[in-house]
Symmetry: C2
Subunit: 110 residues, 2 copies
């Protein structure tokens, strides 16, 4: 069974988090995960990119400490590390998600 490596809370950096969220596909994926509020099988959230590209994006999010990925049987399940991120950088992810929501409301084409 594939085991994924995750940074500890001490290893999570602000610039790493900001970089991971600075891509529209990754930011949209994090928005969807936050809205669904529970872990999701990889592939259950529709994305506009190929599966291999999405694997790369998930790796960036995992290595930045934003998502946790675990395997269960043949499935990989992804969840937001919301509590840990809120402990490390209080209010940060919330303000990014709020800004993303406001931006997409102002321009639904984005």
């Amino acid at each position: 069974m594939k085991q994924y490596q995750h940074p500890t809370i001490d290893q999570i950096t602000l610039t790493g988090v900001l970089h991971a969220l600075s891509d529209p596909v990754r930011l949209n994926f994090v928005q969807c995960l936050a809205n669904l509020m529970c872990e999701q099988p990889c592939g259950s959230i529709p994305t506009p990119v190929a599966k291999s590209t999405m694997s790369h994006h998930l790796r960036v999010l995992r290595e930045a400490g934003i998502v946790y990925i675990r395997t269960e049987g043949t499935q990989s399940l992804t969840s937001l590390r919301l509590d840990e991120l809120s402990t490390k950088f209080p209010g940060l992810l919330e303000s990014v998600l709020k800004a993303a929501l406001e931006e997409s409301a102002a321009d639904p084409a984005k």
Copy 2:
């Protein structure tokens, strides 16, 4: 006299802002500008990189809509677009700066 192009508030994107802030040198420069609270001559804020590298970083910050650069005589003066950013993404820059401060307080080597 060199004229700098700046995005309008409508052209500023969340992912552009996050990307610009995701580099340690740029983030540290923005922190210094925020602390100084007024426009600064380019070169007055110490940075650990060569002048040409800093020019690139300033361009990224300017094109993302984070800083405003104007020339006065032979000087280029840089300021944060704090009011416009606060209008576009309320609370975002503040939460990033707060997280940066907390991170450097927790690990002064960063």
